[in-house]
Symmetry: C2
Subunit: 496 residues, 2 copies
């Protein structure tokens, strides 16, 4: 090996080490910021369940905001750089295939004019307004021209590339559309996205009182928005080809309303935006934010948390001063603090004394009562990502006696949901709290969807988790347990 070769070789090695260090440095920076967030939530980041959470969150955020096609490649590029766009183009151009149009006759088919549609691509992205993940059902269509078609999977890969960054639905649709138009050079491209954003649990101080207005807790439901983008022959939203595209989607039960095409705006879809009117007008500076409503209300912990989230944005290659991101740290902290530990525990301390005792109903073994489908939101402590679902609670009660109010059970579920949790513990804590107030015989089933199961490369979109806690007679009498489980089954079967 000559001196030149050797020098070149060492240079490459050096680069590799350097890139490695940079990545590690960025991951460590995000990890440190996550520790600040955990502290702000009143958590001890050294307790065993949380020990690796900063690293996990850092890795998940880095992976969730980059193209997963090349997991071995360094990711120290700006997410919106030309280089990044170029990459999407490369994906497409590596898979352009010559494909004849019609041999003869009038018409559209094959590589010249035959509409091609890929439907029901499951994606997820991160909301640029609040840093929470959102789910996407994506439909892509294009009309080939120039006697060439693109490999079908590339439509999915390009959509994935643009989803893996901080996004807004309309911009995502536009970027996927533009990238495919530039990459394939077809007669036109159309993109339809249906996006679901989790709701913020509307936990007002007052509604945390036991039994008060459970309907106002707002833990069910998702904010949904549908957006479209079209280029070339799809630029005219009244054109025939849009009609063809809509018809092909309709075969799969997907309806695209006319008003979804070029909608007025999707920029206020994020539910967190309704909470920060002064931020929404875009005039607020970073300084205003960290001294704003939230921090003045709740003390000095929040500015640290907001600064920490700002540094995370920076580590992800984003500009925290970009107009759309200015309020994001504030909103993400607002979300996180809904799961603040101390606050809720304080409230739980007075739980089984006071008026609760008076509410204790006449519980005996006459029959099993089932309180089903009590909704909850929680935050996975391993990944700082939401999980949500329903709890079913079964208990014995005397025939004709008054039942335990659903609002009380909802409060117990809500109390244990609104902190950093794991589902197994949530299930146990609901059962134990019930048992300590109302007596020992109770069974709890929690069913949940975990965002950490659909993001982070796991991508098991349809999966759901169920956990059981059985106390007292429910743990010793198989028939009692079976009866309760059957009741849930029946309710599920009837669409409950």
């Amino acid at each position: 090996m000559g001196a030149l070769d050797e020098g070149h070789f060492n240079g490459e090695l050096e680069n590799e080490v350097k890139v490695g260090s940079e990545e590690e440095l960025e991951t460590a920076e995000i990890g440190d910021a996550v520790k600040v967030l955990l502290q702000g939530l009143g958590e001890d980041f050294n307790r065993e369940g949380l020990r690796k959470t900063p690293l996990r969150v850092a890795k998940a955020l880095r992976e969730g905001t980059k193209d997963l096609d090349d997991p071995g490649k360094p990711v120290g590029f700006s997410l919106l750089s030309v280089g990044y766009r170029q990459k999407a183009k490369d994906i497409v151009q590596g898979a352009l295939f010559p494909e004849a149009g019609l041999d003869s006759g009038v018409g559209h088919a094959g590589g010249a004019g035959g509409l091609v549609v890929v439907r029901d691509l499951d994606l997820f992205s991160y909301c640029e307004s609040c840093l929470l993940p959102f789910q996407i059902q994506c439909h892509v269509g294009y009309v080939p021209s120039g006697q060439r078609v693109v490999g079908l999977s590339k439509l999915s890969r390009v959509a994935d590339v643009f989803a893996k960054r901080l996004q807004d639905p309309q911009r995502l649709a536009d970027e996927v559309c533009m990238a495919l138009q530039n990459g394939i050079k077809p007669a036109g491209v159309a993109v339809v996205l249906h996006c679901w954003h989790i709701c913020f649990p509307e936990v007002e101080e007052n509604s945390l009182e036991l039994g008060s207005h459970p309907s106002k807790m707002g833990m069910q439901g998702w904010v949904k928005v549908s957006v479209c983008s079209g280029s070339g022959v799809f630029e005219d939203e009244n054109g025939d080809v849009w009609g063809d595209f809509q018809a092909l989607l309709k075969f799969r039960g997907v309806n695209v309303e006319k008003n979804h095409i070029h909608p007025s705006a999707s920029h206020c879809w994020c539910p967190s935006k309704s909470l920060d009117a002064p931020i929404c007008n875009g005039n607020a500076s970073m300084r205003n934010l960290s001294n704003g409503r939230i921090s003045s209300k709740t003390g000095p912990a929040y500015p640290n948390m907001i600064t920490a989230v700002t540094s995370i944005l920076h580590s992800l290659g984003e500009d925290p001063l970009r107009k759309e991101l200015v309020g994001t740290p504030n909103r993400f902290v607002l979300w996180l603090t809904k799961f603040k530990r101390s606050n809720l525990e304080m409230k739980l301390n007075g739980f089984d004394s006071g008026r609760m005792v008076m509410l204790k109903p006449n519980l005996n073994r006459d029959e099993i009562h089932s309180e089903l489908n009590i909704p909850f939101w929680s935050q996975c402590e391993h990944h700082l990502l939401p999980f949500h679902g329903v709890a079913h609670i079964g208990y014995f009660h005397a025939k004709g006696a008054e039942l335990i109010g659903r609002s009380i059970l909802q409060s117990i579920v809500h109390f244990h949901g609104c902190k950093l949790q794991v589902q197994e513990r949530l299930t146990r804590q609901i059962a134990e709290t019930f048992s300590s107030i109302f007596g020992g015989d109770v069974m709890v089933v929690v069913e949940a969807n975990h965002i950490c199961m659909i993001s982070r490369g796991i991508e098991k979109v349809g999966s759901s988790t169920a956990t059981i806690a059985a106390l007292g007679q429910f743990s010793t009498d198989p028939a009692a347990k079976a009866t309760f489980l059957q009741t849930i089954s029946n309710s599920t079967a009837s669409g409950g």
Copy 2:
């Protein structure tokens, strides 16, 4: 840097280079084998659509039969080695979390006895009997003990590890169960798998005759098998805890029949096995296979193809002489040759002469007739993976006149499906063939699911692709096109 350090460093580099070359070598070996297969199918592997197919197939097979968790790691291990098992254990043990059981009282909850179930994990694997991919819906449950739980996503990751190899449903269930039992050391583990295997199109020489017995083409339907595996408290299939597990699955509409638990055998589930009775008894040697029924029937091309598939198995780290794999090359070649190009083209050459002309009905523009949901199987030429679905054909015909027989249309679809294809071309060719026989006004919509979209790291399980070809009046008259599309919509809405 001391001499010792330097030597160590160089040694590492050397290893790296060696591993890289080995991978490249294995990929090249598989690629060469794929070229033999393409030749055997009468294809020119230098034509543009196929040029990269050998590399694509090699990469897909290598990725599809290894753990995707560590894409950067070398994969030159035997798939069934202890080292591989160890890896699944590592995945689990890196995510075991301390989790309290009940504070007091009788019962099961949290880290001591509360059943945990993850439902509806979508996986895919490769059938060891025929090398074709099969789809899996996987449900995993375990009963924590020792005050610890495992991160939920690890249940999915471990299932993925064991799916990413040549598998049999029952062994897959057993291996996932055993790995989790050994890794988590819980009170017990249960695994339920529902597996779907694509059917072999039963293309007998006779049924290729136009119009003969389209119902015998057998291109619809999947072979489904359900298997279970249980360890610890799940070893007793009549135990209460199996009942709890089954109940939690039932909430999601998943029914586990009693006879699925420890079924007699799943080893003959692969539809290709019914075609090779002499192989099924396990007495056939490799020599017998390559000189067996198939090759004697169809000439000397097949031994080369069978040898090529055998070498692919070897390159994937499998032992082609392992009992379960002995007939696999034969069966995979049998599948591939169902998509042999020349055979079908020969038949198509006589298509529009002869009796076809007599069948030409009285076509005019009175009304549009729609022949919907004509099933087909095809083979993606980019990935040598199946795609399947339905074609809808619309044409004009005179009121009261005799329609074109569905069996004729089925034959046209079948002819163009049974070769190495892309969906865009299939759609165009169906339209062109119709047009050349019956006249110029025809519209074809093809809807398909592509195995290459659910495997290979894309994993868009629910996605489907639709393509359109519109000839003659259908390309110039938007109303005619819309009418036909609406007919398909209506049929879909009514469950057609």
